[in-house]
Amino acid sequence: MIALENVTVRAGAFSLSGISLAIPKGCYGVLMGRTACGKTTILETLCGLKPARAGRILLDGRDATRLKAAERGIGYVPQDGALFSTMTVRRHLGFALEIRQAPPETIRARVAELAALLGIEGILDRKPAGLSGGEQQRVALGRALCARPSILCLDEPLGCLDEDTHQEVCELLRRVCREVGVTTLHVTHSRREAEMLADCLFRVENGAVTRVAS
């Protein structure tokens, strides 16, 4: 589960305070709001990329407010994918295990499993430069899921995709998150995306996060 309790976040001169939200374990939460309303700042604070100035962040019941990003067990997919340009897709899919010094056979098995789950077996030896937008998002998702995180944070992952790919990746996200059983927070400004994906929907408005009735 993901729980923010009266959290204050800040990015430069911008700040939001008293943010609270809760996403039950295994649910797909969507956080909506206008551009520059602070959605990404909330997500980055949850991931440990920005410090919470006040309040508590609970991840699966554990207080993660002061934990480093690497210790939170969160898979993070930014809007542009932010793939590592010097690495192949295969290395992306095994990177989190490689960092944890997992045995090579464990990494190989996990890469094969993720590639099959995401339908990217054919591009494992390619580098990000030659991939389409949809393929890049699949790789970014696979990279985030590599170490079997219990929480997944997606920052407008469908923002750069064309209409057909958008629909395809949307369905993939829903299927993968269900199959993996990961608790997800998906940030978007698209109502359509929210309606397609959300188990619980939140809106950032006038500096506050409110839950929208399903």
Binding site: C47, A70, G75, P78, A82, F84, S85, F95, R143
Partner: protein, 278 residues
């Protein structure tokens, strides 16, 4: 009825709206640019026409000049490596971190670029007259010695390498490092595994630029290390010494060697630098 309503709405149709040819603008740009380019090429051609193959080979046979070339190649290579050793961490820090006094630090880093070379040499000389400088010289002789040549070259070359590395890191999105942190990397792992491999072309560009700057350095070396033959003689010193005894052919021959080295290095920098930008 207003004036606008009386006007025919035909703006943009072929018979009324025509754009002037861009040719005069482009020709003007080319003419202005060619003045400078022609001057550079003329300088090189003049050098080439001044010397003959026998003069050139004769200069290369001189023991002093060969010593100068060898010492230049060695000191420039060490300077380039030392510059990178410092430029990579400074460039990364300045690119990724905001801290109090950053503008001041940024300005200090540019001082070696804007200071006259003679002033750098004089400042080094004064520095090594202080107790701290004398203490260092007890272990590594600097004034009028080869390590001093490297220090004098490094003072200027490193500033250029720092600029190049900062630009390189600015062009690499910090988002990738952030993703690496969430994947389990420490800050240093994210740097070594994600940032540095992407910066490798920038590192080559910074290293070659530092090497080229070091090759052309003369003022600080003359003041700090003197111009002693077969001791502190690097290629620019050879040009100076040959000129001072009236041996212009040998001076031009060494100059041409430096031009060749500079062109080769600049081509390398352009190739790698362009890829960094892309």
């Amino acid at each position: 009825m207003t004036v606008a309503e009386n006007m025919p709405v035909r703006v943009g149709t072929r018979e009324f709206y025509r754009v002037r040819s861009g040719a005069p603008f482009i020709i003007g740009l080319c003419l202005l640019s060619s003045v400078y380019l022609v001057l550079i090429v003329a300088l090189l051609l003049a050098d080439l026409s001044f010397t003959t193959q026998s003069n050139f080979l004769g200069a290369l046979r001189s023991v002093e000049i060969r010593y100068g070339i060898r010492l230049s190649l060695i000191t420039c290579s060490i300077t380039a490596l030392l510059s990178l050793w410092i430029a990579v961490p400074i460039g990364y820090l300045m690119s990724r971190h905001c801290f109090r006094g950053k503008t001041f630090v940024d300005a200090v880093l540019d001082i070696p670029i804007v200071l006259p070379p003679l002033v750098i040499g004089l400042s080094l000389l004064i520095l090594f007259r202080t107790p701290a400088g004398r203490f260092i010289e007890r272990f590594i002789p600097m004034t009028y010695a080869v390590p001093g040549i490297i220090l004098a070259q490094w003072m200027v070359a490193c500033a250029f390498a720092v600029r190049t590395m900062r630009t390189t890191f600015d062009q690499i999105s910090p988002r990738q490092e952030q993703v690496a942190l969430t994947l389990g990397c420490s800050r240093s792992q994210a740097f070594w595994q994600i940032v540095l491999p992407q910066a490798r072309r920038g590192i080559v560009a910074a290293g070659t630029l530092a090497w080229a700057r070091a090759l052309g350095e003369f003022g600080p070396i003359l003041i700090f290390c003197g111009a002693t033959r077969l001791r502190t003689e690097v290629m620019p010193t050879s040009v100076f010494l040959e000129l001072s005894v009236g041996n212009i052919e040998a001076a031009v021959a060494v100059s041409l060697l430096m031009v060749l080295a500079a062109v080769a290095v600049l081509l390398l920098v352009r190739t790698f630098g362009q890829t960094v930008v892309n």
